[in-house]
Amino acid sequence: MIPAPEIDLVSLAPVLVLSVFTMLVLLMDLFIGKNKSGLVFISLTGLLLTAVSSFAKTDWPVRSFGGSYVVDHLSVFFTMVFCISSALAILISIEYNRREKIRVGEYYSLILFCTVGMIILASSTDLIMIFLGIEIVSLCLYVLAGIRRGDVRSSEAALKYFLLGAFATGFLLYGMALLYGTTGTTKLAGIAEAISSGQMSSQPLVLMGMVLLVLGFGFKVAAVPFHMWTPDVYQGAPTPVTAFMAVGPKAAAFAAFFRVFTEAMPELASSWDMILSIIAVITMFVGNLGAIVQTNIKRLLAYSSISHAGYLLIAIIARNSLGGSALVFYMLVYTFMIFGAFGIVILIGREGKENLELEDYSGLGFQSPLLALSMSIFLLSLGGLPPLAGFIAKFYIFQAALNEGYVILVVLAVLNSAISFYYYLRVIVYMYMKEPQGEFQITLTPITLLVIVISVLVTVELGLFPGPVLSLAQP
């Protein structure tokens, strides 16, 4: 006989609000014609309201549904990040979709559904919920990746992502099943105490489950060696979707990753921080090394996002409150940097010619200085050069790690960011130090421009005066 869990819809508010609006978008799509701007408006309102409603509960942490859903510092802040990222994604999509003739209304609703999944992922403390969240996110992304139906690359990306994703899901599930079986519960808290009190049926199975989880999450956050899909999918997917993928879902995955490993098995830290450290180091190296030789800007950014996953893993390894806040802050900053960069990538492209090769950026620096300047700002911020936000974020993560005494790890990370400078600089070299191939025909579409401007401002602002946001990020 199952005890009925207490229902606390208020803490579930963001999910509900967003779901409602998503449905609304879905419905409206049927009635309005080719022009989808109405949907955009609805979606944005929805996201706004979601963001607001996430503050419905303020006495953090609030655990509900029998401890399988929590509203706490992490979840709220992440919800913010998700809303921002989705909003930005939608904004940069508008003109892109118009240009690339993507006229499916589901586009926006998919993004919103994905956001719902992310919120769930970030705030659920139960393996089942986490699994659901991951699946919601993934399914939406599979479709989004292939949303350009006429384009082989897009479809191929979708298929690759789908197959590998499902494959990874299998492992993830298996891991969850084992954890559940050995500890007898799916609640993270329960698992934790089962492990700590040593009443698990078999140690090896727990460890195996843990490794399987590492694989599953590792796939979602694109950690080596489970990263192989990233470059292809990022390259194939439509640019706004790529940007979205690189930020939102990744952030969500990291949130869950962080929760599961810090809340469910702190006892096993001794064994998993070793694994994760190795993975983090390899991830950083592979990401950066891979990026060095790329000539396609999207692929380059894909590899760079892999390396960033490496840095973020360090935050998880640090597994202290600092680590959590560092993770959040990093994701926030990362959101703006990535959307800014991809926004410019979209602007450079034009109908029938996406201009994704680095050569296409030659001489941009003096053709349209401001655009080049912003691009440089984003790239250098990604590389972590002061006084830009990226530096503060990295600084934060290094702090977290050094506080726990992971000196070697940090030194390696630092060396990596030195390597990473090389390919970020390469883009700058093309923009400023090479002669232009031909005339640029850049149509500065307003909304994308808006996104870029916002991102620039935030990147610089968070670099110079991160104080307020930092104090928010710290519990």
Partner: protein, 657 residues
């Protein structure tokens, strides 16, 4: 003493002259340039005279006046003033520098008048005087060092005055760098002195030397040795003499002023200035004496086989300075200064004479292409001969007195070896100098028919006459026979006063503190044993005159009586070639030192730097890009490989657990 406050004027005048000529020389025209140029040294000479007079009224026993213009460098307790010092020693030098300097300036007007960059020449020359005066007037090592390097610089400029000529430039650079080697040692000595004494003022250091340094201790020896090496660099002694012959590339007046009269003797001045230090280091003294004597002999031998009139004089200069160092080495500082003065007179005169000849035969320098010139150059001839006799050391010319004093001291305070070196050097000197005279002025003329030899203008002959006169009577400064008559000696006595006895006792005390008990009694006894022996001196004089005459006679025999003989004798004699090629020293240095360094640094650059150090840097970059190629090569694009990687990774992780 109020006059002393004029001291700063002495170096100032030439400096002003140099600045005016340097910046506005082209605008104001040659005549004004000559006026400005000569005004400097002459005025300085006048001021020096005033100072000289004033010094005679200087009360006995009180310290000599110094003029401190401003604090130059101060770092913590290291404070160096830009100070000048007026004492007998510096005054003697100032007299020589300004006096001979003025004369040579006047001479230069005539000699250089045809030059385009006349102004540049005089700017340099004035600058040189400025530096030289700083050198001799500075009241501490550092100001002296300014002058020390300054004169080196000016000689670099003036040697390389004809800068289109490669040989001239090379000679200039060579001179500067060889000097730098000396300066390097000098600097080290300065550091050492500061470490020992905590100050660089001459007066303080010299006063403290007897009680601070330990007699014959390492410190004393090393410091003084370093100082001496510095001196050898500047004064062209073994082993750093090779630059001086090449320096003859410069205009002849320059050779007269810088490379005969003043700069090259700076080393001697410095040693005398630091006599207090040297007295504490007998070992160094011995080395100085040997090097000096050796150089005197060595250079003289080379002088016998040279055909370039100026080079002969250059080598004779080297050997004469060798005499001075010999004197210093045996502690006869007065004698050294005495010879320095007289040498300044006659050697300047010789060079200017040579210059006048070269001038009169459009720049012919090879004495084989001369001969029988005495009719064309009457004045030059007379003055030249006078100076030659002086340098050969015939009574009563100036050289006789100074050289014989040195020889006397070499025997008395030193030993018979020093004396032997000196006396044999004297013989050779007399020989090659008269060889020069005979080949140039006497015998049949080998003058190139196109050339029409002619006596030089007034501006050039007048200085010759003055200098010849000085060379003639200069000896009066120091009649050796009776102590009282030795003006120079009495004049310098206060500066060179040194009480060996207290010094030795102080050393014994200091050693005792360190636990060593040594007694310098016998050293003291040795020092006191030597007393002035007038009869011995007279016999020595007669002997050396005889030697000089013998040298002259030999020269006469070879170059007037049987002119064909030298050629016959020297033919195929390896010894002769050796000497004529200056013992191949230059070639040796070139092979053993210069080339290896150049080759080595080339290797250093092309291999060690470009390949090695930078190679590592670029190597890192290459390895990284290699790895990145590997990293991307995994990215095959096949879904199944990706899945495979995932599984493999998973298994590896399982194993790790």
């Amino acid at each position: 003493m109020s006059f002393v406050n004029l001291a700063f004027l002495v170096p100032l005048f030439p400096l002003i002259g140099s600045i005016i000529n340097g910046f506005f020389g082209l605008k104001i025209g040659k005549d004004r340039v000559s006026w400005v140029a000569c005004a400097g040294p002459v005025l300085s000479f006048v001021v020096t005279l005033i100072l000289l007079v004033s010094i005679f009224f200087h009360p006995e026993g009180t310290p000599y006046p110094e003029q401190s213009l401003f604090t130059w460098i101060s770092a913590g307790d290291f404070v160096v003033d830009f100070g000048l010092q007026i004492d007998p020693l510096s005054l003697v030098m100032m007299m020589v520098v300004t006096g001979v300097g003025s004369i040579i300036h006047i001479y230069s007007i005539g000699y250089m008048y045809k030059e385009y960059s006349y102004y540049r020449y005089f700017a340099y020359l004035n600058l040189f005087l400025f530096s030289m005066l700083l050198l001799v007037m500075g009241n501490n090592f550092l100001v002296m060092f300014i002058g020390w390097e300054g004169v080196g610089l000016c000689s670099y400029f003036l040697i390389g005055y004809y800068f289109e000529k490669k040989s001239a430039c090379d000679a200039g650079v060579k001179a500067f760098i060889v000097n730098r080697i000396g300066d390097f040692a000098f600097l080290l000595a300065i550091f050492g002195i500061f470490k020992m004494f905590g100050t660089l003022d001459f007066s303080t250091v010299m006063a403290a030397a007897p009680t601070t340094l330990i007699y014959d201790s390492e410190a004393a020896t090393l410091i003084t040795l370093a100082l001496f090496i510095g001196a050898t660099g500047k004064s062209a002694q073994i082993p750093l003499y090779t630059w001086l012959p090449d320096a003859m590339e410069g205009p002849t007046p320059v050779s007269a002023l810088i490379h005969a009269a003043t700069m090259v003797t700076a080393g001697v001045y410095m040693v005398v200035r630091c006599s207090a230090l040297f007295n504490m280091a007998p070992l160094t003294m011995m080395i100085i004496a040997l090097v000096g004597g050796g150089t005197a002999l060595f250079a003289a031998t080379i002088g016998t086989c040279q055909y370039d009139i100026k080079r002969v004089l250059a080598y004779s200069t080297i050997s004469q300075i060798g005499y001075m160092f010999l004197a210093c080495g045996v502690g006869a500082y007065t004698a050294a200064i005495f010879h320095l003065v007289t040498h300044a007179f006659f050697k300047a005169c010789l060079f200017l004479g040579a210059g006048s000849i070269i001038h009169g035969m459009n720049n012919e320098q090879d004495i084989r292409k001369m001969g029988g010139l005495k009719d064309h150059f009457p004045i030059t001839y007379v003055t030249f001969v006078i100076s030659t006799i002086a340098i050969a050391g015939i009574f009563p010319f100036s050289g006789f007195f100074s050289k014989d004093e040195i020889l006397y001291h070499a025997l008395m305070d030193g030993n018979v070896i020093y004396w032997g070196m000196g006396i044999s050097g004297a013989f050779i000197t007399a020989f090659y100098m008269f060889r020069l005279v005979f080949m140039t002025f006497h015998g049949p003329s080998h003058v190139d028919p196109q050339v029409h030899p002619h006596e030089s203008p007034m501006a050039m002959t007048l200085p010759l006459i003055i200098l010849a006169f000085l060379a003639l009577i200069g000896g009066l400064l120091g009649i050796p026979l009776f102590h009282g008559w030795h003006l120079l000696h009495n004049f310098l006595a206060p500066v060179l006063a040194f009480d060996l006895e207290t010094a030795l006792h102080a050393s014994e005390r200091m050693l005792a503190e360190h636990g060593h008990h040594t007694s310098f009694a016998e050293v003291l006894h040795q020092a006191q044993r030597t007393s002035h022996n007038i009869w011995l001196e007279i016999t020595l004089m007669l002997f050396s005159i005889g030697v000089a005459l013998a040298g002259i006679a030999t020269a006469w025999f070879f170059y007037i009586k049987k002119p064909e003989l030298p050629g016959k004798l020297s033919k195929g004699q390896w010894g002769f070639d050796l000497v004529q090629n200056k013992y191949y020293i230059d070639e040796l240095i070139d092979e053993a030192l210069v080339k290896p360094i150049v080759k080595g640094s080339d290797l250093l650059w092309r291999q060690a730097d470009a390949r090695g150090v930078d190679g590592v840097v670029n190597g890192v970059a290459q390895t990284i890009s290699l790895f990145s190629k590997i990293a991307r090569s995994f990215q095959s694009g096949f879904v199944r490989n990706y899945a495979m990687f995932m599984v493999v990774g998973f298994i590896i992780l399982l194993i790790l657990i």
